[in-house]
């Protein structure tokens, strides 16, 4: 019967952020007691701040140069992080397990060719027949393979090619909501017995002018690098893009136990919604979502991983909600340390929560001076992501006994 509920656990973490490559690097950086120094670059894209891609050897997870060449950094990062997660779960070279593994990727679009776009815009200033110009230049200047590097579902496609994950391949889209949906779907399928093991996650490259254009169209990017994430009045200082590749291996507890896998944490519930945000509607929805996720009665041994975008008022509302709802739980402000990674934001929060729930020590504050110290190792975690325009998700995770 399909209504038999299965417990869903995390058995693999693949995480690359500006702070470093891999689970251990993040563990080392985050369990030391004090807030790590953020890796932020406020020069290269001034007045904007980005949390850049760390030094990385693509060959470690994408051995064939030919495969590397078929991708731009967004896909490379996702494929790399997916490889880390598979490695971490002990599935990396298990062809049989990979061939029956389900995959759900949260994706945006790939990098544009800035040089070609600039050429067209500048030439267009001199010509009245812009559509004709477009046809000429796109036909002659675009690299044929760039299309595949830009296509949303080709991050998943490349994971199939490089890591041989072929049970199924689904790509979900829609900014922050994509990351929430990806986790929600994977969780629901495993819980219902429709899937036994799934690779799920997303990637985002901060150093992208084409994406800065999209966010700056609503003047959403932070432009005050000298200021912290949070202001004293509870508002935030705008979105700073954060590079993140975050993939998890989710399994049914039975499947994980049967193969003797290490379990980082249990993913108890994922709740997601969207809707109008005027008046108190956002807050009312968040209360309902936290109830749906069973995120009630959390104490000081719970940690809240807050995915606030950095949009000033919206982030303030999230913070107020968290303070009211989880007054005793220390908050970890993901944006302050890692920046915001749109589709990858929710998976990144889950990966960080799993690190905390697997560690023997308390997780350090992310926003120095703002995030409260934790009293000890986390026993449960709440992960939030409120999309900069739409979409809200809350996950609840628990330490495995």
């Amino acid at each position: 019967m399909t209504d038999k509920r299965h417990e869903v656990v995390v058995t693999g973490i693949g995480l690359v952020t500006s702070l470093g490559v891999g689970r251990q690097a993040h563990h080392d950086a985050l369990m030391g007691g004090t807030a790590p120094v953020a890796n932020a670059d406020s020069e290269r894209f001034a007045p904007y701040t980005v949390h850049p891609l760390p030094e990385i050897d693509w060959s470690a997870q994408i051995p064939r140069r030919g495969d590397q060449r078929q991708m731009e950094n967004w896909q490379r990062l996702g494929v790399y992080a997916a490889g880390l997660a598979l490695d971490d779960a002990g599935f990396k070279d298990d062809l049989e397990a990979c061939s029956s593994m389900d995959m759900i990727v949260a994706a945006g679009g790939g990098e544009r060719d800035t040089t070609v776009d600039t050429l067209i815009v500048e030439e267009g200033r001199k010509r009245n027949d812009r559509e004709q110009l477009l046809n000429e230049k796109l036909t002659t200047e675009l690299r044929p393979t760039l299309f595949l590097a830009q296509l949303s579902n080709l991050l998943a496609g490349n994971i199939s090619i490089v890591h041989k994950v072929t049970g199924s391949s689904r790509t979900v889209m829609g900014e922050e909501g994509a990351g929430i949906s990806a986790i929600e779907i994977a969780h629901a399928r495993i819980a219902a017995g429709q899937s036994t093991h799934s690779l799920v996650g997303g990637a985002y490259i901060a150093e992208r002018l084409d994406m800065m254009m999209v966010l700056e169209a609503v003047q959403g990017l932070g432009k005050t690098p000298d200021r912290p994430f949070w202001n004293a009045d509870g508002t935030a200082n705008g979105m700073n893009f954060g590079t993140s590749g975050a993939f998890l291996v989710l399994e049914s507890l039975e499947h994980a136990t049967a193969r003797g896998a290490h379990v980082y944490a249990r993913l108890d519930a994922v709740a997601a919604d969207r809707g109008l945000r005027d008046g108190e509607r956002l807050e009312q929805r968040l209360i309902r979502l936290s109830e749906d996720a069973g995120a009630t009665g959390t104490g000081a041994d719970s940690v809240v991983f807050c995915g606030a975008s950095g949009f000033p008022e919206l982030s303030a509302r999230e913070r107020s909600f968290l303070k009211a709802r989880f007054p005793d739980a220390p908050v970890r402000t993901i944006g302050a340390l890692f920046g915001h990674s749109l589709e990858a934001q929710f998976p990144t929060g889950l990966a960080l929560a799993c690190l905390a729930l697997d560690a023997d020590a308390a997780i350090s504050p992310f926003a120095a001076g703002e995030d409260a110290a934790a009293t000890g190792a986390a026993q449960s975690a709440i992960v939030t992501t409120i999309g900069h325009i739409r979409g809200e998700g809350i996950a609840r995770l628990s330490r495995m006994p």
Binding site: T139, T166, A192, A217
Partner: protein, 428 residues
């Protein structure tokens, strides 16, 4: 009906289709589309949306008869999906808030070139330093452009559908390339089988044809260049097929558990009895030479439905008219159907409507269900020069009457995406 009659061979709730809507280059609505499709009419025409002089492909199956406030992919894709959903909900007899989840297959979204040129025009001479994006950023720092932002968001289409039709929860916007439409249906089926909901709205839409979209496919040599006779350009399974014709469209299916559908007196249009998927790890655009993933996908769909290949009476082919797809699809089908292959009619709707990309799997699911309910097999048109290496009964050029109770619909896409659906006239 006993409780058991509402369950499938694995004890899961049977999933009924109670409402459908469709838009393609052949027209708007089930009635017009089915009349044209069974008459063997082509919707393929010269490109008028943008100048195509000098391009190697100058034909398409765009949908240009639905009004949109601004010419961009978000507005167009939303408008198509809105129309098909209105039609589907009316047929299902549902009004007010839908109250179930929305699964939307939508094309990847980017800022349109028209919008980029407009931004470029706002750049002041003193801001003309650095690359185009640095210039755009200087302009946007001075004055925001929320409409530009919204038109570049992947979540913009499902947001509006969710508001308009009162769907529940966070809508899922998905892409599995040319299999997306089938995946949207699969997600709806899964949600009902999970017991999360009694009904789901599966929508697939694609209004993304632009110069850049067309040129991208052209550069991969994927498109037909038979420009002189547009209506004859898409000719699946022929010897001289030379690529697909890029097209637009949308479809909506209202999915309900059979039990709740019958309890409210809804008319059941068909059952989605099986969904199968399997990714290909061979190449970004080409299939594994032996067709193993496509074969596994077809078999997975049959297994999920709990039927054997012998029970399939008609196959709605992916049938893109590319040399690669049609050859591989034949290889896969003939492997699964064996000696019976020659006796199973297989036709390609794309011979008439072109390749509606993100929407194709759902558009063709609607046509598959209509095939069963009307007892008419739509033809594969332009079948004038059969490929001897593909000996299929493609229902050549003229529709055929046939009683069919189970249909297989194939969808294969770039990135190793394979999804198949098995649909049945009534509970198995």
């Amino acid at each position: 009906m006993s409780k058991a009659a509402y369950k499938d061979h694995l004890g899961r709730p049977l999933v009924a289709v109670t409402g459908m809507g469709v838009v393609s280059s052949l027209g708007q609505g089930i009635e017009d589309n089915w009349a044209a499709l069974t008459a063997g009419k082509s919707g393929i025409h010269p490109i008028t949306r943008f100048p195509s002089d000098g391009l190697s492909t100058r034909i398409c199956g765009t949908v240009d008869f639905i009004d949109i406030p601004v010419a961009n992919a978000v507005e167009r894709s939303f408008a198509f999906a809105r129309e098909t959903t209105i039609e589907a909900l009316a047929q299902a007899g549902l009004s007010g808030d839908f109250g179930g989840p929305l699964f939307l297959a939508a094309p990847p979204i980017e800022a349109e070139w028209g919008a980029r040129f407009e931004l470029g025009d706002r750049v002041k001479p003193e801001q003309m330093t650095g690359n185009a994006y640095e210039q755009f950023l200087a302009v946007l720092r001075e004055q925001a452009d929320p409409a530009f932002h919204e038109a570049a968001l992947f979540g913009a289409i499902s947001e509006r559908l969710a508001d308009m039709f009162g769907t529940r929860g966070l809508p899922v916007t998905l892409s599995t390339a040319c299999a997306s439409g089938a995946t949207a249906i699969q997600l709806g089926v899964e949600a009902i089988r999970q017991g999360r909901t009694d009904r789901a709205l599966s929508v697939a839409t694609d209004g993304s044809v632009s110069a850049e979209a067309l040129i991208r496919f052209s550069l991969l040599s994927a498109l037909s260049t038979s420009n002189d006779e547009p209506e004859k350009a898409s000719r699946p399974f022929t010897k001289d097929r030379d690529g697909f014709v890029i097209a637009e469209g949308a479809a909506t299916l209202v999915l309900e558990s059979l039990e709740t559908a019958l309890a409210r007196g809804a008319r059941v249009l068909g059952i989605i009895s099986g969904c199968g998927e399997k990714a290909d790890d061979f190449h970004r655009t080409r299939s594994s030479p032996g067709g193993a993933p496509a074969i596994a996908t077809i078999r997975a769909a049959l297994d999920d439905a709990g039927i054997s290949a012998d029970e399939i009476g008609y196959i709605n082919a992916h049938g893109t008219s590319t040399p690669e797809n049609d050859k591989m699809e034949y290889l896969s089908l003939s492997t699964v159907f064996g000696e019976r292959m020659a006796d199973v009619p297989v036709s390609s709707n794309k011979s008439m409507i072109g390749h509606t990309l993100t929407a194709a799997g759902a558009v063709e699911a609607v046509f598959s269900l209509l095939t069963m309910s009307t007892g008419t097999l739509p033809p594969t048109i332009n079948y004038d020069n059969p490929d001897p290496a593909i000996p299929l009964d493609v229902v050549p050029n003229v529709k055929r009457d046939a009683t069919v109770t189970s249909v297989l619909s194939n969808s294969f896409g770039f990135g190793g995406q394979n999804a198949c659906l098995v649909m049945s006239a009534e509970p198995a």
